[in-house]
Amino acid sequence: MVISLKEKFYSKEAVMKSIEDFKAVTPIKCVSEDGSFIIHISKVEDVPNIEEEFVNYVLALTQTE
């Protein structure tokens, strides 16, 4: 699955930290393109909405910063 997050709204540090944390659960990688982070994340059977959980995770870290 592919997620696109605007760099304007999500901090780079939060994205990187989230990717590190989610690596333990599923294959995940990120590239930067046209002002957005493009995140490729694999589905996980036990976590039906993992891509949405990831986005929430990044937002929470961004807000805490």
Binding site: K6, K8, F9, V55, L59, A60
Partner: protein, 157 residues
């Protein structure tokens, strides 16, 4: 208000003018909903911030009325944090002064430190007193009551 809200299936999209609500206010409001909803921030061609909100529970359990109420709740949280943001900036100086003075009068090390002589200690207090005297200044006329500021204009109408 309706033009800012779009409900598609089980997703609410709210369009927010970033000139009215700074990004940190949108973050704070979004944060409140992270527990029960998935949230994505995006932008449209007019540079408005688009907030996509989707409930974590199953689609079949959410009614259209609940989705509308959700949008309303989000808009209210925006106002809540926008108001708090404004107040926090207005009271920043007084908060800093209160904390500084309470800590300096609390810290036994500062009070009994032999190396901190009277002159240095008085300098610290004088600096705090400058801030203390300024706390009643009101360059932006914030403290003037609404009726006093706008009352005549209303009567002119």
């Amino acid at each position: 208000m309706e033009k800012n809200i779009t409900i598609t299936g089980n997703c609410v999209q709210i369009s927010i003018n970033p000139k009215l609500y700074p990004i940190e206010v949108i973050y704070s409001a979004s944060y409140v909903f992270l527990d029960k909803y998935y949230i994505l921030l995006d932008e449209d061609h007019k540079k408005n911030v688009l907030v996509h909100i989707k409930p974590k529970k199953n689609k079949s359990e959410i009614s259209e009325d609940e989705m509308e109420a959700l949008a309303g709740d989000f808009l209210n949280e925006l106002i809540n944090y926008a108001d708090y943001n404004v107040r926090a900036k207005q009271t920043q100086k007084i908060r800093e002064m209160l904390i500084q003075r309470s800590i300096i009068t609390n810290d036994p090390e500062i009070l009994k430190n032999d190396e901190l002589n009277d002159e240095e200690f008085n300098h610290i207090l004088d600096k705090l007193d400058e801030d203390y005297d300024e706390f009643l200044d009101d360059p932006k006329e914030i403290a003037i009551p609404w009726e006093e500021k706008y009352g005549n204009k209303t009567k002119d109408k």
